[in-house]
Symmetry: C2
């Protein structure tokens, strides 16, 4: 039986901040890193917020993450810059990179930072919201370890690379944050635990047949890329561009064990959106999309539920698994 | 019975050039426009090459395309520029925009052209190949008329927006050119004519059930976005960004009849790739991807077959439907 408690974002942030300080983060970096984790849970992306924190601490213990390493500029091409993440914390490196891309965009209209040698950025949407909150269009992606079989293959040789696009909007940013598999392994596990079948086919079983059975896909290790052959090659392209632009590692060079994943390559693009004043157009785009169904709630845009979840979690507290929370408190010993 | 003849690229280009000159194109523009059509068929994308030419001429007759209108600069932000396509021919406008994005990239590292008020660009991959042939990473996309129901909806309120990413490679560029539906209406028609079912589910029937029957999807008008809910919102984001950056029309503002489609918005991004010398890494990325299967031919990268098709078509002639060719020759009256 899972017990869920509700905690304020302040309690969560402060607890994580204390632990991060204890494992060596400078004060300012601990505060930002803790805030990014807490805000991810606040927005309802629990898998990449608090629930991920123990693994993050583990990666520090294992020496994958150098807590106070800051990205350094390798080369500048004007509106495009190449940075080395120096094995720093993935979320701080990514946050810093999107901030730099926005600075470049403010100067040149568009700015791009390619970052190598970084660690898992946790929730990709964080950097989309970051750009949109500041009034920029944001586009970013990361490569990952090889964890997805490409279309036509069996063994995982492409990454489930998350791809983020964000548009600033006064009524709530529109933020797409999608990985390349139809269902993440975390999602497969959730469906299995609830005893449910997937709503659509999500991968192959060990016989090579398409299936909606989450357990069968976990066993085969063959989730489906979105759009079958299409997501498979989109994943390839994102990896190629990230590795080329950052002069960093491609998926095939990244350790293939989940707990050893490091040396990731990422791309952050920010584009000035303020030149246009198109709030009304954005509202009309969304209204038109929803007009596809008589039940407009059935057609959703990305980010639509985020603000509602955020408001609820700020008002009532962020839901936290009690056992997980106790394990986090034990990190503060 | 379909009769296929094989024609040299020179015969095709020259024939199209003559017709384009006759409908008012200046000599230089006629030659480039004809070449882009012919090269599309040369590369095996027949649907957007020669087979599309009669409809292109029809759009000129209907006044949608102003044959000698050239894009004009609306506003410059440095590495980002906004251009007005002035209802010129879509392929010439797009070619000119990617060329300008490359110029900006050569100066700033990254360059972006947002183009409004343009027409169908024919094969999106053309501009990916254009960038990669010149040694740039290319990213571009276009919006379209509303022709795809979003996930959760029934009526078509998002576009089947093609998205292109290209990477230069001496052994043959890697060029992704994918639209947002799992199968285009052209592909559905081809499967139906061959009496085949789709290899995977491709849309809904009129009862709202997922189906692999191409005719059922043509009847319902409900093809599936790639990745169900994922491609649906990716399409939305591409439309939003293209319309915002170009200050042009979004999908909901584009005439919804296929033969009246115009006033499209597009984005062209070019990024310097020459700073890195990573040929070996690219080969290793592709080899690793293919190692997913013991049958490496089963795992393909985008663009893999293009060069082979190109070589065959240059050596043996480009396959052309004889009746379609006769209808093109009649345009030259």
């Amino acid at each position: 039986m899972q017990l869920v408690i509700r905690l304020s974002i302040e309690v969560i942030s402060e607890t994580l901040r204390t632990i991060l300080t204890r494992v060596g983060f400078s004060n300012e970096r601990a505060a930002l890193c803790a805030r990014l984790f807490a805000e991810t849970s606040r927005d309802g992306v629990y898998s990449h917020g608090l629930n991920r924190f123990p693994r993050f601490i583990g990666a520090i213990s294992d020496g994958l993450i150098d807590v106070n390493a800051e990205p350094s500029l390798v080369e500048s091409f004007g509106a495009l810059e190449r940075w080395d993440g120096r094995s720093g914390p993935g979320n701080l490196n990514a946050y810093s990179s999107m901030r730099r891309a926005m600075e470049l965009s403010a100067k040149h209209g568009i700015g791009c930072v390619a970052l190598r040698n970084t660690n898992h950025w946790m929730r990709g949407g964080t950097y989309g919201w970051q750009a949109a909150d500041a009034g920029f269009l944001g586009i970013c992606w990361t490569n990952t370890l090889p964890n997805l079989p490409p279309w036509g293959g069996i063994r995982p040789t492409v990454g489930n690379n998350p791809f983020v696009i964000s548009v600033p909007r006064s009524e709530g940013n529109v933020v797409l944050d999608m990985a390349m598999s139809q269902f993440s392994f975390g999602a497969l596990e959730s469906y299995r635990r609830r005893g449910e079948q997937l709503p659509v086919v999500g991968g192959f079983d060990v016989e090579g047949e398409l299936t909606s059975d989450p357990a069968a896909i976990e066993t085969s290790g063959r989730p489906l890329p979105i759009g079958y052959w299409k997501g498979s090659v989109l994943s390839l392209m994102l990896d190629m561009v990230a590795a080329l632009l950052s002069d960093g590692c491609a998926t095939y060079q990244i350790p293939s064990e989940v707990l050893k994943e490091t040396k990731l390559s990422q791309v952050f693009i920010a584009i000035q959106a303020s030149a246009t004043n198109k709030e009304r157009m954005l509202e009309e785009i969304l209204a038109f999309m929803k007009s596809s169904s008589d039940d407009q709630a059935a057609v959703r845009y990305p980010g639509e539920r985020t603000l509602k979840t955020r408001m609820t979690n700020l008002a009532e507290g962020i839901p936290v698994d009690e056992i997980m929370w106790e394990s986090i408190l034990k990190l503060d010993d």
